[in-house]
Amino acid sequence: MSTVSAVSEPGGASGRRGVARAAAAGGGRARRLLALHTALVYGFLYLPIVVLMVFSFNGAPPAPAAIGAAGGGLTAVWEGFTFAWYSRLLHDALLLGAVRNSLLVGAAATAAAVALGTPVALALARYDFHGRRATQALLLLPVIIPEVVVGAALLTFFGAVALRLSLATVVAAHVVFSIPYVALVVRARLAGVDADLEEAARDLGAGPWETFRRVTLPLALPGILAAALLVFTLSIDDYVITSFVAGVGATTLPLYIYSLLKVGVTPEINAVSTLLLAATIVSIAVAQRLLQRPVGGGGRRAGRTRRRQAE
């Protein structure tokens, strides 16, 4: 799905003639209007996030007896800068436990998804086989079937096989929705790797495993790393499916945040949210960088050759 193109097609091939041709696509006034509209759209996209982040540093005095009173301790007025809410996070044992759970689940699910998704990406990119289309469909379904349905189905399944809900069931669920993303991202990367290189390695006497280890894997590595980062982010952020399959004591960070939200808005939530958003932004930025890297790894020259081929 275009989820993948969202990270794998950063600049595209155009822009080259961008400004020169722009006039044909829209006159001066229309163009300014569209620029204004775009600015407004981005304002709409980012203003809430920025407000949320800014107020995580707001030094509002904690309201007395705030427990249970929604919104206690957080006003919409700027009261001065503070790190108080962040330092308070460090003393919240429940939160730290949730962070630990999320990191564990994220790491395990990412490792499993990469181990399972990379080979299937290789199969789709390099081989023709019966069941190719079925495989593609199977990889697409977990992404497009609504999350509520996936969560409910997994809950039903774990109940039927009498598997007690725990962190392990959460990992299994996350692996399910992560495999497709790994397969799609890695496959897109492999599509950009010249299969002739593998052919050449084989001609030079490398066996299939050696070819994979010394040619395919290094070339696909940026894609695999990017996929791992994306999938880790998805795992850390997932609420819907996790809410169905997490057992007692398997509270992940989003589950914990949700439970706080149901009680009321507090500055600590702003602080956790800010940290989580920051982590997401960093890992997405790194993933984007990795995917923009020209295939062949040979730096500028390889990139230029490739671009020339494209034209």
Partner: protein
């Protein structure tokens, strides 16, 4: 879609058994933890719930099937209260999709065709971040803004536009805002991907032939962007239909959506069979829609349009 023109195409894909060995682990895991649960849920949807939330065992399957009792949950889902929630979800999803499309199209057009290169990369990067960020937190941001002591009310009070705080949070309006906000990046990106491929010389040709701005837009741009519009519509409409976080956090008692209904059956109501039936109705609707999309994309975008 990630199939880039720049990619040197493999001369031809190999045949061989290796492919099966490579695909097998993923098949197994997805088969056990995805397909099997879905099938199991389909079976459960024909069952009846036990007093404490389990599923009543069926002694004689043949007789049970003939009796038509398996359809009870589906029949129940048509009752007025559930049907009303279904309609509301449908309307909300349609409205969300339409609003996202109207807001996103001009922005995607600007990014793809009019913005200078450096700015284009920046804008794209900025569109990708919310795409991958936590839906939960992005929804929370609106709780923070819309609540009675929140920023918006403060602003309006401060400007003297209102005398007492408005009830903005826990309303249908809040749910609508949350849905549009949450889904917007999923519309911008596919639209951008389609518009980016648009051959600008066609617009020039249309202009040379005397087509005005409106005519160029309606008769050249929109038809050429249609695959992106279709993809964006699917990517926004489908998740909106199954949404329950936004309505749970931003909505009140009366803004319950179909997703909440399903979630309730598995959580508070402990009626798995009924929840399973509802989940299947949603799945069927989604699959029908995707099937229509696949037919459309197959005609317009070649075999791997969705991938």
């Amino acid at each position: 879609m990630p199939e880039r023109a720049a990619a040197p195409k493999p001369a031809g894909r190999k045949r061989g058994r290796t492919a099966y060995a490579l695909a097998l682990p993923a098949w197994l895991v997805l088969g056990i933890f995805f397909l099997l649960p879905l099938l199991l849920m389909l079976a459960v949807s024909g069952g009846e719930r036990e007093l404490y939330g389990g599923v009543k065992p069926v002694a004689d399957l043949g007789a049970y099937l003939r009796s038509g009792a398996w359809a009870a949950n589906y029949a129940r889902s048509c009752a007025a209260i559930y049907a009303r929630i279904g309609w509301r979800s449908l309307w909300m999803a349609l409205a969300t999709t339409a609003i996202c499309l109207v807001i996103s199209f001009p922005a995607a057009y600007y990014i793809a065709l009019l913005s200078p290169r450096r700015r284009k990369n920046l804008l794209l990067g900025l569109a990708v971040i919310p795409f991958w960020s936590s839906f939960l937190i992005r929804t929370y941001a609106w709780m923070f803004i819309l609540r009675s002591e929140g920023l918006l009310n403060h602003l309006l009070l401060g400007l003297g536009l209102i005398q007492r705080p408005l009830q903005l949070l826990y309303t249908e309006l809040a749910v609508a805002i949350g849905l549009v906000y949450g889904e917007l990046p999923f519309m911008i990106l596919p639209l951008y991907a389609a518009l980016e491929k648009l051959d600008r010389s066609l617009l020039e040709a249309a202009a040379d032939l005397g087509a005005g701005g409106a005519a160029r837009f309606l008769r050249v741009t929109v038809p050429l962007a249609a695959p992106g519009i279709a993809a964006g519509v699917v990517m926004v409409f489908v998740p909106s239909l199954g949404q329950f976080v936004v309505s749970d956090l931003l909505g009140g008692a009366r803004s319950m959506l179909f997703g909440n209904l399903i979630q309730n059956q598995f959580a508070a109501a402990r009626n798995q069979p009924f929840g399973a039936a509802l989940a299947f109705e949603l799945t069927a609707a989604v699959l029908l829609l995707l099937f229509a999309y696949a037919l459309y994309a197959g005609r317009h975008g070649g075999e791997e349009a969705l991938l």
